[in-house]
């Protein structure tokens, strides 16, 4: 059984470390190959790249929309029970959530077609964990205060919404320059789910009312479902966990298919718009599936003995009869039916304006593959732009908007800063550095940096870093 205290610490510490998968600093950061993962239709500038295995792309984030570690654990002399009551149980709403994710590149590479330089192919695989738990507002109040003196209050058990998955993703994509203005891209993905759980379509209530016969009546109306795959065998003591996880990661898990699409369109030499939709896909769960359901409605007023009718009941099993009746009306059932889960689809849209002193070798091509042989094309000195981000979540889409500024410092360093407004913060300033030493490319990106003034008070943070080998020449 989960220790409630450890669970609270886990949620809050999780919120300190890592945000809802928005990689606003990486999006359209043309100098970093991994930004192609966020828009398969971005303007690729290089001839080929190979990521250093495991280190080519590491990303982690976590966030809490309504509370921070500091809110609960600050050494401020306030009783923790008061803080839990005021800041969590009665301070959060059912729209607040805890989330965390990480993504690690297993390998990542890409190359330009020597014969068709307008085509850039990419291939890779990564491991991704994504988790979200909405604050179960009414259930938290019920757990803290109980149902006493709450006559007529309907506790919403539909507040229970969560999902999480660990999945390996193998992908192959093509990025194609259609015209001087338009670049498009598409990426196919094969998902191999290592584990999955979701409980997001719950409804029902628990209410205590004055009884018709007895003093109180208690009514439970539940339609709850928890679907899992890949978890049962992990709990099995006889399972070799590392073997199991590796096997599942390499196409041995529950399989699915997905698609990323994107584009960049140059409005003029210096202005472009871009957009992408990522993870339009599903996973079909057939292995190691366990689904738990609680579905039905029942009302009880305790043991009821109404004479003379109950004189015939001499067994004295009135209580067990109630239990049996409730279990029949609200059966807790388990099945292993196959199910489909849809990936959390994400979408980006952006507008970008490049300005400042352009580098040498610029052609009227807006910094894509049509630069001169074996010369690094630097593009303009500065870029500014705005981005929007959407991710599909169990309670509907979550959105973020970002403004960014990027500057090239010499030939070796690109710096980007961003300001983002989202569910977590109105003061999210991020900073990204991309270093280039010959063919070696290293980047590190982090956001919500203002919160580092008091790290535990941060409701979310994310970082990503990576190491690649890049050839900037082209093949023409």
């Amino acid at each position: 059984m989960i220790d409630p205290k450890k669970f609270i610490i886990f949620l809050l510490l999780g919120s300190f470390f890592v945000h809802a998968q928005n990689k606003q600093l990486l999006y359209d950061f043309l100098e970093i190959p991994q930004s192609l993962l966020l828009n398969p239709g971005m303007k690729t500038k290089h001839k080929w790249h190979v990521g250093v295995p495991v280190f080519s792309g590491i990303y982690a984030n976590a966030g809490s929309s309504g509370i921070s570690v500091n809110d609960i654990f600050a050494n401020d002399g306030i009783d923790i029970n008061t803080k839990i009551r005021e800041r969590a149980v009665f301070g959060l709403s059912r729209r607040d959530f805890f989330t965390g994710s990480f993504q690690i590149d297993v390998f990542n590479g890409g190359f330009r077609n020597p014969n068709k330089p307008q085509d850039f192919y990419s291939i890779g695989a990564y491991l991704e964990w994504d988790f979200i738990l909405y604050w179960p507002e009414d259930l938290a109040i019920l757990a803290l205060d109980g149902n006493a003196n709450q006559l007529g209050r309907r506790f919403n058990i539909g507040d229970l919404k969560t999902r999480g998955e660990l999945v390996s993703v193998s992908h192959i994509g093509i990025n194609k320059v259609i015209s001087k203005e338009l670049t498009i891209g598409v990426r196919g993905k094969l998902y191999s789910s290592i584990l999955d759980f979701n409980s997001s379509r719950n409804s029902g209530s628990f209410v205590t009312n004055p009884g018709q016969n007895n003093i109180l009546s208690s009514t439970l109306d539940a339609d709850i479902e928890l679907r899992t795959s890949g978890i049962q065998s992990i709990n099995d003591d006889n399972t070799d966990l590392s073997d199991l996880l590796i096997k599942r990661a390499i196409f041995g898990g529950n399989l699915g298919l997905g698609l990323d699409v994107g584009f960049t369109y140059n409005l003029n030499k210096q202005t472009s718009i871009s957009g992408s939709i990522l993870d339009i896909g599903f996973i079909y769960h057939t292995k190691d599936v366990q689904t738990f359901t609680l579905n039905g409605a029942a009302t009880t007023e305790g043991v009821e003995i109404v004479l003379p009718g109950d004189l015939v009941n001499t067994s004295g099993d009135f209580f067990q009869e109630i239990v049996d009746e409730i279990e029949e009306l609200i059966p807790f059932e388990e099945n292993d039916d196959n199910y489909i889960s849809f990936r959390p689809t994400k979408a980006y849209g952006a507008i970008r304006y490049d300005f400042g002193e352009p580098s040498q070798n610029q052609e009227d091509c807006n910094c894509d593959y049509r630069v001169k042989d074996n010369e690094i094309y630097e593009g303009y000195l500065n870029s500014v732009g705005g981005q929007v981000y959407l991710i599909n979540r169990p309670r509907g889409p979550q959105a973020a908007i970002t403004a960014f500024y990027q500057r090239r410092l010499g030939k070796f360093l690109n710096v980007r800063t961003s300001y983002t407004i989202d569910s977590f913060s109105f003061t999210n300033i991020g900073l990204g550095l991309n270093l280039r030493a010959g063919p070696v490319n290293f980047y590190i990106l982090g956001d919500n940096l203002l919160s580092y003034r008091n790290i535990p008070d941060s409701r979310y943070a994310s970082f990503q870093l990576g190491l690649n080998i890049i050839s900037w020449g082209n093949n023409r």
């Binding site: 570690v69 923790i80 009884g211 305790g302 009821e304 710096v415 800063t417 300033i429």
Partner: protein
């Protein structure tokens, strides 16, 4: 434009100056966390019409022992701290009655007894609250109860009928308990 670029550059590097600060945190506070909800529900209900009381010869017109395992559920028994059982009794018959509730353990030993003497109608509803734990009776009574016996005794005759509509004796009960979820 140069000024704008310098300003943006400054803003861009500003976050660096904030990196690495933290208010003091005390994670040991979690050991002081207590979650003690108070839960309530009806327990048992008995209804006997006067017509039936008249039909039964002898003074003890009803006695029934029934299992009541709600209290002995492991989680509840381990974590209940205190509680109040509320009784409501209503007698609209023409007879004086005694209702007795016995709390029994697994060996049918009496742990606690509650007696209610009801005068003939018309009379008010008798309400009684019995506290267990926290200065009341031992909470162990609740923790160890596995059976409940309800006995009803007629101290009057077997022929009179109350003039009130549908004369009967009714016992209602509910429990309100504090349960320690997190300690």
């Amino acid at each position: 434009m140069q000024k704008i670029i310098k300003l943006l550059s400054f803003v861009m590097l500003l976050p660096i100056f904030f990196v690495g600060c933290a208010d003091e945190q005390d994670f040991d506070q979690i050991n002081d966390l207590e979650v003690i909800p108070t839960v309530e529900a009806s327990l048992f209900f008995l209804e006997t019409p006067e017509q039936l009381i008249n039909l039964v010869t002898g003074v003890n017109f009803y006695s029934q022992t029934f299992t009541f395992t709600a209290f002995e559920e492991q989680f509840f028994a381990d974590n209940v701290l205190e509680g109040v059982i509320t009784y409501e009794l209503e007698n609209t018959t023409s007879k004086p009655l005694v209702i007795q509730v016995d709390f029994l353990d697994a060996g049918d030993n009496i742990l606690d007894t509650e007696n209610f003497s009801l005068v003939p109608a018309p009379t008010a509803v008798l309400t009684r609250e019995v506290t267990y734990g926290d200065g009341g009776r031992s909470i162990d009574v609740i923790k160890m109860t596995t059976n409940i016996r309800i006995s009803a005794t007629n101290l009057g005759d077997n022929s009179s009928v109350s003039s009130l509509p549908s004369p009967k004796v009714v016992l209602r009960s509910s429990g309100r308990f504090k349960v320690q979820l997190v300690e």
